[in-house]
């Protein structure tokens, strides 16, 4: 942080030292950019465009009138905004969206409730079985839902819990738990114990100290865990496909996949639905872009 850099006296902000060089941390006057910066900027913008193109193409397709769908043109002659209304009216998108919201919201909440105490205790106390617990978390990270599909299906079939939103909440929470515990343990470890001890001397129990002192300080870590879990659960496909077999209980990803029929694909509707599913997450991600780096930084430093 450059907060402690020596600043010129407030009365004369623009006074330069005799050698003409500004002290570090002050704003430089505007001048022609260096060629290196120009190249870096151009390349970065080009790459950004490449990363966005597939999604731009999705939007264009979503707006194609049915008659121009299979034309080999870059843009349709007119944009059919009614596609969005049609797809909403004629498919299960409403209930798919409801399921996805419940699953993403519910599993995020569950992850927080379960991961915060576990991560906090693991960061603070050297209890018996701590190594074993950390190993268990690591193993969970290795097991992807995809590799356990048969087992998951058989288990929830026996429990008679197929086609239930709660099953998807439980599953999404469990498979995102490892990452949340990992990030949160890193954050909690970085917060000085003395702060909590002071709070506990003042009469708060460990739980109170966690809630009132540590948690607010670890907020960036909590935000990171929330975002990662929410987005992973929002985009989850494989478990939804396997554990929900009736259209009403399927999440958005599975609903959208079902636009791909055996013989025909309604591409414009498919992408109209996709755009509806993608936009909220992209907006959410845009807001927290900064947290992503700081969250991952804490995670990789440990």
């Amino acid at each position: 942080m450059a907060q402690q850099t020596i600043q010129p006296s407030p009365g004369a902000p623009d006074a330069l030292p005799p050698d003409g060089r500004r002290p570090a941390g002050t704003v430089r006057p505007r001048r022609a950019p260096r060629p290196r910066t120009v190249v870096v900027t151009a390349v970065a913008w080009l790459i950004a465009a490449v990363f966005l193109l597939p999604y731009v193409q999705m939007v264009i397709t979503a707006l194609r009138p049915a008659g121009e769908l299979r034309d080999a043109t870059y843009l349709p002659t007119e944009f059919a905004w009614s596609n969005f209304i049609d797809v909403w009216r004629e498919s299960n998108l409403g209930s798919n969206l409801r399921v996805t919201l419940l699953v993403a919201g519910g599993s995020t909440l569950l992850v927080l409730l379960v991961a915060i105490p576990a991560a906090y205790y693991t960061a603070r106390v050297k209890y018996r079985g701590r190594k074993l617990f950390l190993l268990l978390v690591l193993v969970t990270q290795m097991f992807q839902p995809t590799s356990l599909l048969v087992g998951l299906y058989r288990e929830f079939h026996q429990l008679d819990m197929l086609n239930s939103v709660w099953t998807l909440v439980l599953c999404n929470a469990a498979f995102n738990l490892a990452f949340a515990i990992w990030i949160l343990t890193a954050y909690f470890s970085a917060i000085p114990v003395q702060l909590e001890e002071a709070a506990m001397i003042d009469g708060l129990g460990r739980g109170g100290a966690l809630l009132r002192v540590t948690l607010p300080l670890a907020l960036p870590g909590v935000v990171t865990a929330v975002i990662f879990t929410f987005i992973a659960a929002w985009n989850e496909f494989v478990m939804g496909l396997t554990l929900s077999t009736v259209p009403e209980s399927q999440p958005l990803t599975v609903g959208i996949n079902s636009f791909i029929g055996n013989y025909t694909v309604q591409w414009n509707y498919l992408f109209a639905a996709s755009v509806i599913a993608i936009v909220p997450v992209v907006v959410l991600f845009a807001f927290i872009e900064r947290h992503v780096v700081s969250g991952l930084t804490a995670g990789s430093v440990k």
Binding site: V150, E155, F271
Partner: protein
């Protein structure tokens, strides 16, 4: 959650000792804290593992009715599948290829987006798009762009003269594989690049200053200073990508469904294809699948000597 707070809301200050020992939660030990996490992992992760292994030894009808033990029959049946050898080979090539390409490209991207330039925030935000959008939808998007008649990539390539006539890229395994690997790299880049960007933040600026004073060139600085300091983030990126790419189902399922037959299937997709015909054999495939992941990750960790470095 806190221990009993008396009417005044304060307890007499205690000196020297933290409150853990005497508060109600402290006496119960770690159970109230880590119990729920362990329970969730046991019910949703470990139970299915047990169920999967058990299923691989069972005779189960298509309708889900258990008809007794099958012993190792399902494994024998699996290893007798004529396509299995090529599916496993394809899986290894897929995983190693996609992870290697992802790591190399991410190193370059992280270095680029770590620079200061106008519009850094906006361009970084664009980089995140494939991460925010679901992998399945990105895969379906590419399937559409590669469509034989209406796909925009065919249109662009014919307009640029790269190909004479539009081609059915995903219909032929020889061209479907490279395109699916391209998409898999595309969706893996955001997370990996961001992990490496985070790693770059941890390199103290003074180190570069010192290198410059010592007269080190750009490339020399990168190889001798940046790369070694990026090691922890790099290893995290490789391991997470190995696990994700190996299990990557939506890319292949969204683009070819593993077909024609199992010509574009990895072991994970093959397992899903088997699920509808014989769930026992599919479970056997899952067990073999998991053994393969463990071997790959363990091999990588051994090569990179993970333990010695205490990452």
């Amino acid at each position: 959650m806190s221990s009993k707070v008396t009417a005044g809301g304060r307890r007499p200050p205690r000196t020297g000792r933290s409150g853990t020992r005497r508060s109600g939660l402290g006496r119960l030990g770690p159970l109230p804290w880590i119990g729920p996490a362990v329970l969730l992992i046991v019910v949703v992760v470990l139970w299915p593992v047990y169920e999967m292994v058990r299923t691989s030894f069972l005779k189960i009808s298509v309708s889900g009715f258990v008809r007794g033990w099958a012993g190792l029959d399902k494994y024998r049946q699996l290893f007798d599948e004529p396509g299995l050898g090529s599916v496993i080979t394809a899986t290894v090539v897929w995983t190693v290829g996609v992870v290697a390409l992802t790591m190399v490209l991410s190193l370059a991207l992280a270095q680029l987006f770590d620079q200061r330039f106008p519009g850094r925030r906006v361009t970084r935000w664009a980089l995140i798009a494939p991460w925010a959008a679901s992998v399945l939808m990105t895969a379906i998007g590419f399937k559409w762009m590669l469509d034989r008649t209406a796909g925009v990539l065919n249109t662009v390539m014919t307009d640029l003269g790269i190909i004479d006539t539009p081609r059915d890229w995903l219909g032929d395994p020889a061209t479907a594989w490279p395109w699916m690997m391209f998409v898999a790299v595309f969706v893996s880049l955001p997370f990996t690049t961001y992990t490496l960007l985070a790693g770059l933040q941890t390199v103290p600026g003074e180190v570069y200053e010192a290198a410059r004073v010592d007269g080190a060139g750009v490339w020399q600085t990168y190889r001798r200073i940046t790369l070694p300091l990026l090691r922890p983030a790099f290893l995290v990126g490789v391991v997470i990508n190995l696990i994700n790419v190996f299990n990557s189902f939506p890319v292949i399922w969204g683009m070819t469904r593993g077909g024609p037959d199992s010509d574009t299937a990895t072991t994970t997709v093959f397992m899903y294809q088997l699920k509808s015909s014989d769930i026992g054999e599919s479970a056997a495939m899952s067990v073999v699948n998991f053994a393969l992941v463990v071997v790959m990750v363990a091999a990588f960790l051994k090569v990179s000597r993970w333990n010695q470095e205490e990452v």
